[in-house]
Symmetry: C2
Subunit: 226 residues, 2 copies
């Protein structure tokens, strides 16, 4: 069976896995899970039974069901080591993982759709305050990433050397979110240089929002439908 990726076009976490699969040349079928329709298809009983954490992505083959984008990517890396998304040197590998997690743990979860919904529906905050929240966590996170990457000699054409890897896989979806929220990205020249480099590559282009079978709207950087 061809692997299935339960995905939503705008989900950063699913976007990461799409890029990783594309970089490794692993064929896969997208199963769209709409995070908005019908109160959120990820909350349905059928999906919850596959993935108890009720988020996308979920990667499924005959052998395995894995959720959590970075756990999926670590598995893909072990299953098919080439091209490598993680460095061979242990110290560098830990550096790459730590920066990937700066994105996957310290930016993305706080701005996740379910959190934005809680802010609006339960706490009754205004749309402006929600947009400020969204931009705030992106700005805090990207400032840290820019500081780390601009100062590190391991950064090359891509975030680690001259081949795309795990940091790029996590960074590019986050930049899409930042663009869609119209965050000023001029303070992050290193990140944006890497972004533009990645967006030359089919693996990134084909994983991006507007290339998804479930994409809605024509503008890839329309504001999130929170």
């Amino acid at each position: 069976m061809i692997p299935k990726l339960y995905s939503f076009w705008r989900s950063s976490a699913a976007f990461r896995v799409r890029i990783a699969l594309n970089l490794k040349g692993i064929d896969y079928e997208i199963i769209p899970v709409h995070l908005g329709k019908n109160g959120g298809e990820q909350l349905s009983e059928s999906y919850s039974n596959k993935n108890a954490n009720r988020l996308v992505p979920l990667y499924e083959t005959d052998e395995i069901k894995i959720h959590q984008s970075l756990a999926i990517i670590e598995y893909l890396e072990e299953l098919q080591p080439h091209p490598a998304l993680l460095p061979k040197i242990a110290i560098d590998r830990s550096w790459v993982r730590s920066i990937a997690m700066d994105i996957s743990s310290d930016i993305h979860p706080i701005n996740n759709l379910r959190v934005l919904r809680y802010l609006i529906r339960k706490l009754g905050i205004s749309s402006e305050a929600k947009d400020e929240w969204y931009a705030h966590w992106i700005q805090v996170g990207l400032a840290s990433l820019e500081k780390q990457l601009s100062a590190d000699s391991r950064v090359g054409k891509f975030a680690y050397g001259n081949q795309p890897g795990l940091i790029d896989v996590c960074l590019i979806p986050q930049i899409f979110n930042a663009l869609s929220a119209k965050v000023d990205l001029s303070p992050y020249p290193t990140l944006m240089r890497i972004f533009h480099e990645c967006m030359q590559l089919p693996a990134f282009i084909n994983a991006s929002w507007e290339k998804q079978i479930d994409a809605e709207g024509l503008n890839p950087v329309t504001p999130p439908q929170k």
Copy 2:
């Protein structure tokens, strides 16, 4: 040089690394970073220069500086594979990582101190609404974990088999947070059984709040000072 762990007694992420170091029998020196005093010592220039993401923990030796608790633990696992915190079988390893990340990415960051501060100081929400927020994300997350662990035959005395590993390392600090917030834990019997099992072990006991040199107050489950 003996490794340094920049830590705060109540930080879940630092707590995870303390447990992992203890389980592996790696000696380390705690450097306390107070997340409350002086506006948060993690935001100081000297600490920011060591760790641009301005959170704890940070692990430092002559060779390496790593932040992000799971990146540190993956590094320790590579450096000193025994006792193993990750399974040998790739499918199981991905399962363990995914559940660890359910905690480290999907519960903890949303309830992090800096997020709670934003809710109170910027959004002006009440103390009660903040407590509800805190409990909500714990309940959503623990319900998912209970569903996953109660149904999985890989669970033994500990979350994976009969030796403590990465899931336990992440779960126990999260249960400390839940206890301190007086969340009803009766819906999670599998998690609580594992919690009590772990809390028999010196590696967990010695990593816990009240054993820290920077611990404040006598009650290990006093409500968080948010």
